[in-house]
Point group: C2
Chain length 241, copies 2
DNA sequence: GAGTGGTCTAGACCACATT
DNA sequence: ATGTGGTCTAGACCACTCT
């Protein structure tokens, strides 16, 4: 996995924003200055800035420059595709994962079919994991990993990062996901696992794909509604839904 | 507002996907073909395709082509910045808006300050609107529009589209927003307005900005949890949070 | 007028798929 | 060998902001 110049520039500027070297409300160097700084063409610099712009790290203003936006990302985001392990690392949460179940299955679990009715019979691996933050249950993640492309799943991987395993050990390229967030009534078994009083939970259902459009994962995440918080950044689109 | 070639190409291909001219699971013409089709350079075509790619309309696969993804966007998205009026039009919902309140205020309403504690005293216009779909209450939108940049808000605008008014009548450029989704307990007054049994609602709090980073709007949207559904498309980022 | 970002071009070389 | 998308370049012209 070689990084392109665009990757390097975007990540470098993002790091400088995170570390406060470029402060919120101030302008970063102009495109021409960045061009000489990184020794590339202006279009390459512009591609890197466009990435930061769409993520909400900067705002480009014609005739003036690119200003660093005031971002406060201390919460639990479900936008983007980021694994729990990655979030834990980058946000410095005191988080733990408890694997409740891990088994191969001949077909999709029943309660998955309600949310993913179009899925046909398919072999795979079922994993159920409770996520705790500061020793309090926060999320119950139920994953179904398709076989193929995922043949095996060591317990140690489930305890740590499945995404790291898929990308680095299996060499697959995780690309995109569709997500659906709803509020659902849950049974007493789930109430007990999450240790919540209400019989309601926030359900995030995800369908994830590799870069060749192969589906590899279905996830049902049940969140304690009193702890659920989802932060998003959105830009006004020129292409309407 | 002149459209760039990139805009035209992106919107044209998006329309062809929506109308089924380019079908899900099939490849759209190659970049070289599109280059001759639209009479532009390849980089321009690529910028248009990149936009469709990030929106989840297509998936680019190296060595093969760009495949149309299977999108089903029949639900109520809060991702992106799209006004209720725009959604109603493009999704063909039978939706109505009932303006419950519209008044100028010297400062931010009290219940806004809990969600936006950093806002200082500021003059503005408060609007409260109930959104009905198929004659059933779905969302209560509470908006606070800053003065400046928004001096006046005719009742007729509140009944139709505030965004259309801001962009087309005032000539301002709506650019981006931060959003936060939580589940909150609501009082009986709100329960009555939304006609829900539970004392819980999904709250979407938004902070919206113009392209010069001027804030112009705060919104608190209370959703009936049993009807709330939020669909998102996400790509794996090279820049980690 | 000088500096900024916005758009577009024509061409180059590369990595990957397919035949 | 051919066709596909991925990356990068050097340069051009434009629209806007500020002094």
């Amino acid at each position: 996995m070689v990084k392109s110049k665009t990757d390097i520039i975007a990540q470098d500027i993002a790091a400088k924003i995170r570390h406060g070297q470029f402060k919120a409300g101030t302008f970063i160097p102009s495109e021409n200055q960045l061009t000489t700084l990184y020794g590339t063409s202006r279009e390459t610099v512009r591609k890197a800035l466009e990435r930061l712009n769409s993520l909400g790290l900067i705002q480009k203003i014609r005739g003036k420059g690119s200003i660093v936006l005031n971002l406060e990302r201390y919460s639990f985001p479900i936008s983007g595709i980021t694994s729990f392990a990655e979030l834990n690392r980058s946000l410095g949460m005191n988080a733990k994962t408890k694997v409740l179940e891990l088994k191969k299955m001949e077909s999709l679990p029943k309660f998955f079919k309600e949310k993913f009715p179009k899925q046909s019979k398919q072999e795979g691996i079922y994993v159920e994991r409770l996520r705790l933050i500061e020793n309090e249950p926060e999320v119950l993640d139920c994953d179904f990993l398709f076989t193929p492309p995922i043949k095996e799943l060591p317990l140690k991987v489930a305890q740590n990062s499945i995404y790291n395993y898929i990308e680095n050990d299996l060499g697959l390229e995780i690309s995109y996901a569709t997500k659906e967030v709803t509020v659902e009534r849950i049974n007493t078994d789930l109430q007990k696992k999450l240790a919540v009083g209400d019989n309601l939970a926030v359900l995030v259902a995800s369908h994830s794909f590799l870069s060749d459009t192969t589906p590899f994962q279905l996830t049902l995440s049940f969140h304690d509604p009193s702890k659920f918080k989802f932060v998003d950044f959105a830009r006004r689109q020129k292409i309407k839904p």
